[in-house]
Assembly symmetry: C2
DNA sequence: TCCTTTATTATGTATATACCTAAAAGCAGG
DNA sequence: CCTGCTTTTAGGTATATACATAATAAAGGA
């Protein structure tokens, strides 16, 4: 009871429930306790619990049905972010055959440039380096270079990344708490161009993603798409629902909502 | 009283208040009626009004301060979208001198390709065609090709776009209700490359934006940045706040919140 | 067994009420 | 005229309560 009351009741419950979802304590599809039960266990009124659950429903963590109860829904709140770069889903939704080739898998000490990519201050961490080419109907359409912080995800050392992409494996293994994307146009490096079967003069879309969990860097990945094979789509409307998606021509989505800026 | 009750009280008030903001009836900075007053004019309890205003505050339309009251805030919900492509602000925030050159300004009947860009089914509309080069410290860093639907914004015909960018002028003039962005990497067309002072082999980031208001297309613009001069940044976290911004190296932002996906 | 009816249950919406708190406005005294 | 106190005000949070509704479960009859 030393530093017990940082925020409101509402926030305390909100944080706790969301924590249960993000940490996987309440897995996808789990039927969470009823409003009335939560109210009594937390010692608050049903209205308070209701407001929390209503909010989390709007945020997309929960799905509620009368009589049945409330269930954890979706890729845990990751929808918006992850939909942007899940090569496999994209290709399949487009009706093409997805496959990938592992070009490299190497464990090594992190060097300076790795620490920059991971934004890690920690010296002397071990990383797993991976390189893929993703294909649609056999044609290469994306190059991926990834490093994983083994200090944060030791299990990755022995995971079988020839059967499953590292990206989807990580999603299941590690809850993430923040992600950063950089999106830009580049002329591909020579070896990437060769792997993608394009010239270095071909404009490519490059997406860099860095994720972390509780302040610790998890992974960094750099995806390179030939410009004519990939684009991002973002739809906005003030009605508080915008969609962000990646296209290869296919249609996808993930809702994202517009909120106030914090620009100076 | 024929078809009076489509939704809940909450939704009715929410829609009406948001409408007042989006339409400009309640302009930026306007102090909206107090909770208690709204409650009595709508004939509902303060709690109901409070929930609505709390939600709109989270959505970024309003800012509330005790005793002072509630005010309309920000570029009306446009923050997230518009921050992505406001060349002037970007350059200035980077501490460089912003300028632009108008290359074309022509009024003409819409042709087939224009109607495709605007997604307009309406035949025979008149459009205003504009072309700019944006500069930072004199160096070209963005090419803009825009068309404006004069049927929707007749005032644009006589606006002075040599003093003010069409983009910012439109923002003030027309409330928009939806916007769509396409983001991709391209090799620039020959004349664009020449204007930007780069070769056609240089990867460029291309952003297309289409906005509409109440189903009517307003404008379409295509922005082309040399790949080494521009990137987009998106930050996400499950705590319900993500930032999307455009960089030229500078830092910007606009909050965006992750919500549930609607993917099949 | 099958179908219809009824009861139960969990969420959905709305209200009235209570008390708290931050901030502005007013007031008093130096 | 400035300073520090008190009052007022508008929002902030939480509760108890009420009734509506959708979906399931149970009961009942042919």
């Amino acid at each position: 009871m030393s530093d017990a009351k940082p925020t409101t009741l509402h926030d305390r419950i909100l944080t706790e429930v969301r924590g249960n979802i993000l940490s996987g304590t309440w897995p996808l599809g789990y039927r969470i306790p009823f409003e009335t039960d939560m109210a009594s266990t937390y010692g608050v009124s049903r209205m308070t619990v209701n407001k929390v659950l209503t909010q989390l429903t709007r945020e997309g963590y929960l799905e509620r049905r009368r009589k049945s109860g409330t269930r954890v829904t979706k890729p845990r709140g990751q929808s918006a972010v992850m939909a942007i770069t899940n090569s496999g889903d994209e290709v399949r939704q487009r009706g093409e055959a997805y496959s990938f080739t592992t070009l490299k898998r190497k464990m090594r000490r992190a060097e300076v440039q790795d620490m920059v990519l991971l934004r890690s201050a920690d010296p002397a961490i071990t990383i797993l380096e991976l390189e893929y080419v993703h294909r649609a109907d056999g044609e290469p359409f994306c190059h991926e270079a990834r490093i994983i912080n083994l200090a944060a995800v030791p299990e990755a050392e022995h995971a079988d990344f020839s059967a499953e992409q590292a990206g989807t494996w990580l999603l299941r293994q590690v809850p993430w708490s923040s992600a950063e994307h950089l999106i830009r146009a580049v002329n591909p490096a020579a070896h990437v161009a060769r792997l993608l079967g394009v010239s270095v003069a071909t404009a490519c879309l490059e997406i860099e993603r860095r994720t972390e969990y509780e302040g610790r860097p998890i992974t960094h990945t750099r995806l390179t798409y030939p410009g004519d094979k990939h684009q991002l789509v973002a739809r906005f409307s003030p009605q508080m629902s915008a969609q962000t998606s990646a296209q290869t021509s296919a249609q996808v989505s993930a809702q994202v909502s517009a909120q106030p800026g914090s620009a100076p």
